[in-house]
């Protein structure tokens, strides 16, 4: 198995005592698989991702990649941070170039420059390459962050709500773009994606990991998807499996929000 998470627990020391973010997390991911982690805010989705990224050290349990325990971050894993995390004093081009220059070995400067150009073009930012992050929109910043993660050609992509800040149209384009990139690479890149968007999770994933609510969150259920690839948004929406999974995810995520239907109509004046 490519990525193995065994009995993972991550807790933080706080002034009020120990805070357990996630516990008893077990997950195996094959090479080339796309796995989404979905759940309510504060359910430890990002915590699991940060443990895989090597940004957090497990309190208990292990995270291994190809059997080797994760000791820290590395260029084999490309991270798209939730808040873009671009360096504000570097241009769009330089933000990507510095990452490529640092992470990619055995390539000449010219080759690295070509890589950067290719990915800037891929996310449609050629016209903005010399701008500083403060001069471009949130969506563009996120595209820079995605280009930066792709450009270092990692084995695994870790994306923390990568399309969260994008408008619906751009979001759709970027999701397609992501699948296209993954396809072009013979579907060999493993992608782990944290999201709270059910449709996004279904459209992109092979499996969807549903978390329980935090604190001390754990995996509630793992949904397997068998939707054919390459996927087409319009086509899959009408497939019975899509509807089934969507219903299932909705009921898993919404079952806490049981509303007495009568509550909806309280205070509404009854028309004569």
């Amino acid at each position: 198995m490519y990525l193995e998470i065994n009995n993972l627990e991550i807790s933080f020391a706080t002034p009020k005592g120990k805070f357990v973010a996630v516990r008893n997390v077990d997950l195996q991911v094959k090479k080339g698989e796309i796995v989404s982690i979905i759940g309510h805010s504060g359910c430890g989705k990002s915590t699991i991702m940060n443990a895989v990224a090597g940004m957090l050290t497990p309190t208990k349990g292990t995270v291994t990649i190809n059997g080797v325990p994760v000791k820290g971050p590395g260029p084999d894993r490309g991270i798209v941070f939730q808040n873009y995390s671009l360096l504000p004093w570097l241009t769009v081009y330089q933000n990507i170039f510095q990452a490529v220059d640092a992470a990619v070995k055995n390539k000449t400067r010219e080759e690295k420059k070509e890589i950067v150009e290719k990915y800037i073009k891929m996310v449609n930012l050629s016209a903005h390459r010399e701008k500083l992050p403060q001069q471009i929109s949130g969506g563009m910043k996120q595209r820079v962050a995605i280009a930066r993660a792709f450009a270092i050609n990692p084995d695994m992509l870790l994306m923390d709500e990568p399309f969260g800040a994008l408008d619906a149209l751009t979001k759709g384009d970027m999701q397609l773009e992501l699948l296209k990139l993954w396809n072009l690479d013979n579907r060999s890149k493993t992608i782990i994606l944290v999201t709270h968007d059910i449709e996004e999770a279904i459209f992109l994933s092979d499996r969807i990991v549903v978390m329980t609510d935090g604190p001390a969150a754990t995996i509630r259920e793992i949904e397997e998807l068998h939707l054919p690839r390459p996927r087409n948004k319009k086509a899959i929406i009408s497939m019975p499996e899509y509807k089934l999974i969507r219903e299932r995810l909705l009921s898993l995520l919404m079952d806490k929000v049981e509303v007495d239907e009568a509550d909806f109509y309280k205070g509404v004046p009854v028309e004569a």
Binding site: G72, P75, W89, Q98, A103
Partner: protein, 286 residues
């Protein structure tokens, strides 16, 4: 056909006029703002001049009035580069001497303070080690170091540079340490995630992020250095604006003393403005 082109032309000119008006407005606003600000400045100086005049009348001329002082100032500025021997030189030569000492001392101080500040900000061990020393030495008047400078260098001019060096250390050091210590986790995570080398981290993250803080430190340091040079030169003698003030007092020319005060103030203001502009240039919105 003709009418069509005509109306199109009219449309064009009217839209051009509109955009002209739009682009003029902020310029006008800026201009009126600048006028207002200078009106306040002039008003303030007007009040000062009146008070000064009244004070000099009240003291029956013991304090020279504005007219006498400005006349002397004009005399000083008319021939700033004269040189009649070691104790009688033009105001520009005095200023150049003082500025030279300030810049040498300030440059040496900055070269020492910035790396130590970076170390203190980046490493809590260094911070714990050096911070108490900084806290004890910072409040000491730099003039107290003058005898030590004299003893070590056996030369009043070098000793003056030495006290400017000491003066320039503290604010730069503290601000640099603060800037480096406050680098956001997000930026550090980028460095970690993409495997930045130490050199790349220093040049692409640490320095750009802390530069505005470092410049603030330099700005504070040069302000204090300019304060200290005047006092320092009163002690050291020789050449310089501080010595000039003391020498004018000995020659009982308060007009020259006040004229020198004006010049010192303006030079100090210019130094401060210079670093304020730098500060702004290197500040980035994230």
């Amino acid at each position: 056909m003709n009418a069509q082109t005509n109306s199109a032309a009219i449309e064009l000119t009217s839209s051009a006029a509109l955009s002209d008006r739009i682009s003029l407005k902020p310029l006008l606003n800026k201009l009126s703002g600048a006028l207002q600000a200078s009106a306040y400045t002039l008003g303030g100086f007007g009040i000062l001049l009146v008070l000064w005049y009244l004070l000099s009348k009240l003291t029956a001329g013991a304090l020279p009035g504005p007219v006498a002082t400005l006349t002397v100032l004009w005399e000083m500025l008319k021939d700033p580069f004269y040189d009649y021997g070691p104790n009688d030189k033009g105001i520009a030569l005095q200023l150049i001497s003082s500025l030279g000492k300030v810049f040498i001392g300030f440059a040496l101080g900055s070269v020492v303070a910035i790396p130590i500040g970076i170390l203190m900000g980046a490493n809590s061990f260094c911070n714990k080690l050096f911070y108490p020393i900084v806290q004890i030495l910072k409040p000491v008047s730099p003039l107290a170091w003058f005898p030590i400078g004299l003893a070590v260098f056996q030369n009043a001019g070098t000793a003056t540079i030495f006290i400017i060096f000491i003066t320039s250390l503290w604010s730069t050091l503290i601000n640099t340490a603060f800037g480096v210590g406050s680098i956001p986790k997000d930026h550090k995570n980028v460095a970690k995630a993409f495997g930045f080398s130490t050199w790349r981290y220093i040049t692409k993250i640490l320095i750009p992020y802390s530069l505005p803080h470092i410049i603030t430190g330099l700005r504070l340091s040069i302000s204090v250095a300019w304060l200290v040079i005047v006092a320092g030169e009163m002690l050291s003698g020789g050449l310089g604006i501080g010595f000039f003030v003391w020498d004018s007092w000995n020659a009982l020319s308060l007009e020259k003393v006040i004229a020198a005060i004006l010049i010192i103030g303006i030079v100090g203001l210019l130094l401060d403005r210079f670093f304020a502009v730098l500060e702004k240039k290197f500040t980035y919105a994230s």
